[in-house]
Symmetry: C2
Subunit: 403 residues, 2 copies
């Protein structure tokens, strides 16, 4: 039996509800392979590699129940970091010396654009030592190039659409005119905000309007949209990206002079949703509320998409397969099969594709009016939120595993 | 077979995730009773009674699947109102005339304190006409007197505790000192904020501190608490009621001079959480984020407590049983049985008990230090979040029924 060199895995960037599913997929694939050595995890991403802070995952996950718990635990089990290798000559020496110390032949980095930058920089240097480096995509923002979509996006989309449908019912319970503005994550790309359209069903027409950062936000058009809609219905529900900007390229969230500083030392008013709430109140004199969906968008493990969880897991597993096959400097990708029912193929692509780009919502997914998405987008996104992951609860609360 | 007079039911006040379970319980109990007539629903609470806006619920819910969907639909299916009978002489004539028009013998009002005030005012006047009036408790705030707890509270508590546990994992993923402040509903009573303690498990110690409106909020003590905790851990998670007040009885949310008005015409800064975020940033110079859990606290139908859903349903059913037994002017209550395992008895009590009071978190549930809850509270609240309601999804989103 061929002996396989040890493996090391780490997580980086903002966490998601399924980033640990990718970790679980990689661990399980590695330890199930004949001749496998030990798989280690670095604490707090590449920082843990630089300071030799590793966990023996083969030992830690010595039974299947623990891996099952890992799959349903949100946030980064190994801890995360926001760290770009800037001094690559010095740092790579340190990293490779750690790899050699632990006899690592396979390094996996789960993350977004910045993490893929790390993979891209390390891979050629590691290749001289026979060490493979593979990136595993992760981002709720769905903005990585080279893959049909990103693990993490489907679960966030499902949470956002579910919560908006519930809030729309809530907002409509009184017989008075009112506006609900929901602010959704996405500083540059509007993928998450676009997914709010999945709230719509036979029972629910909300959101009525969807504003993405890919289009210039026009205050007067926005007020006109609301006024017009209020003529035929009591409740208007609006989804906006945190990153919407005006014609001058200025974030709506930063669109007015800082208010007088107070005893708290800050005048910060909150995000785009809060700004638009104040605008609607002043200009339309109507009941209005803004809700920032905030952190639960990326960690609501009680509302994950089974499709997304499964794909995240499989991306982790596929990374191990690719590395064992000798691939390096690659990122795992998902390709949608051309068939009537949704299915995915796992591949890998040169990591530079993902490291250097940021994928925006394309024109064909945004309505002509600029305040909605198209049916093409609905066709694209719908399969990603299908299925519910049955999770284990303890004492009425989702169960987690921590290191 | 004895003919039963028709019934009318309505919903009032802020909705919950399970207010429709009570509606479903009442409908099912009524239509399953031998000799039952028709059960109607008034649209938008007592306002629908005043303007003769009724739905025939016997007809609408002509199959069980629809009732099942009703149980899992958040917000008030019938629509709600915030309306107190002030001109009782005039209004009661109008109401009773409608009751007579539809041959109503049983009127059920699902709601909180204000709704129980309506029941209290109507019951004696209706009793002359042989019409029974029963209140069905509903409030996420858990502040109704006369009952062990209120339908709606358990599901909100479960949602709050689950989301805090997830956000605590998220906040702890980097190796940097940071503070997360979670603002929870409860203007006067701290029941919901207290329930955040249920987030704690073997894996999670958050929230580290819990501040209720039942205690005076002291800025310096708050900062001291955080500073001390940061000496031993990286991430401090804090749960605060929206209704916390300072020693002068002033809401923390309104605690500083209004900032300069801007182009939006308002200087409003947001709630208590946002205020404390700014305070921590200024005084401790540390990474801090505040999250307002907002509307999902009362409508997260994808995260309801099976115990709560069942009890809400049973309260609705028990109201019908009581009214058919000739009770009037009563509110349905739950009494906890004195036994080792949790169980409930459904009773009813004079509605004036609930109409005139507001139940605060008692002293024995709040820690001496004033920044946490006691084990007595944990014993009280733990059973209320147990069990998960399996809900039906369509296209990846919870399914609902609307009128």
């Amino acid at each position: 039996m061929k002996q396989i060199k040890n493996a090391l895995i780490a997580q980086s960037g903002g966490p998601t509800a399924v980033i640990n599913a990718s970790l679980a997929g990689a661990i399980n694939q590695y330890i199930s392979t004949d001749g496998a050595g030990t798989i280690y995890g670095a604490v707090n991403g590449i920082k843990g590699v630089l300071r030799d802070d590793l966990i023996n995952l083969s030992e830690f996950f010595n039974d299947e129940n623990k891996l099952d718990l890992l799959v349903q635990t949100p946030s980064s089990f190994l801890g995360s970091c926001r760290y770009r290798l800037e001094n690559i000559n010095e740092e790579s020496k340190q990293i490779i010396s750690l790899f050699e110390k632990y006899d690592i032949g396979h390094f996996f980095y789960i993350g977004g654009n910045d993490s893929m930058d790390t993979v891209m920089k390390l891979a050629p240097l590691c290749s001289e030592k026979g060490i493979n480096v593979i990136g595993i995509p992760k981002t709720i923002d769905n903005d990585l190039m080279g893959t049909d979509h990103c693990p993490g996006y489907g679960s966030s989309a499902k949470y956002i659409a579910s919560v908006i449908s519930q809030m729309a019912l809530d907002a409509g319970c009184y017989d008075i005119k009112n506006v609900l503005i929901v602010e959704i994550m996405g500083r540059n790309a509007g993928w998450l905000t676009a997914a709010s359209a999945l709230s719509r069903s036979k029972a629910i027409s909300a959101p009525d309007f969807i504003y993405l950062p890919e289009r210039i936000f026009d205050y007067e058009k926005f007020l006109y949209d609301i006024r017009r809609k209020l003529m035929t219905q009591n409740t208007v529900v609006i989804a906006v990206s945190e990153g919407i900007k005006d014609a001058d390229g200025k974030y709506i969230a930063e669109s007015d002079p800082a208010p007088k500083k107070d005893m708290f030392g800050h005048g910060q008013l909150g995000g785009a949703g809060k700004k638009l709430e104040l605008l609607v109140k002043k200009r339309l004199g109507i009941k209005v509320r803004s809700v920032e969906l905030n952190i639960p968008q990326r960690c609501a493990s009680h509302c994950t998409s089974l499709t997304d969880v499964t794909e995240a897991y499989n991306c982790g597993a596929h990374a191990v397969i690719c590395s064992l096959n000798g691939e390096t400097g690659k990122m795992i990708t998902m390709t949608r099969n051309q068939s009537s029912s949704y299915s995915i193929q796992y591949n890998c692509t040169d990591v530079s594709v993902a490291a250097n780009g940021e994928r925006m919502v394309p024109d064909q997914f945004i309505s002509q009016s600029g305040n909605d998405v198209t049916n093409d987008f609905i066709d694209y996104v719908s399969p990603l939120i299908i299925g519910e992951k049955n999770i284990k609860y303890v004492n009425g609360i989702p169960a987690y595993i921590v290191r």
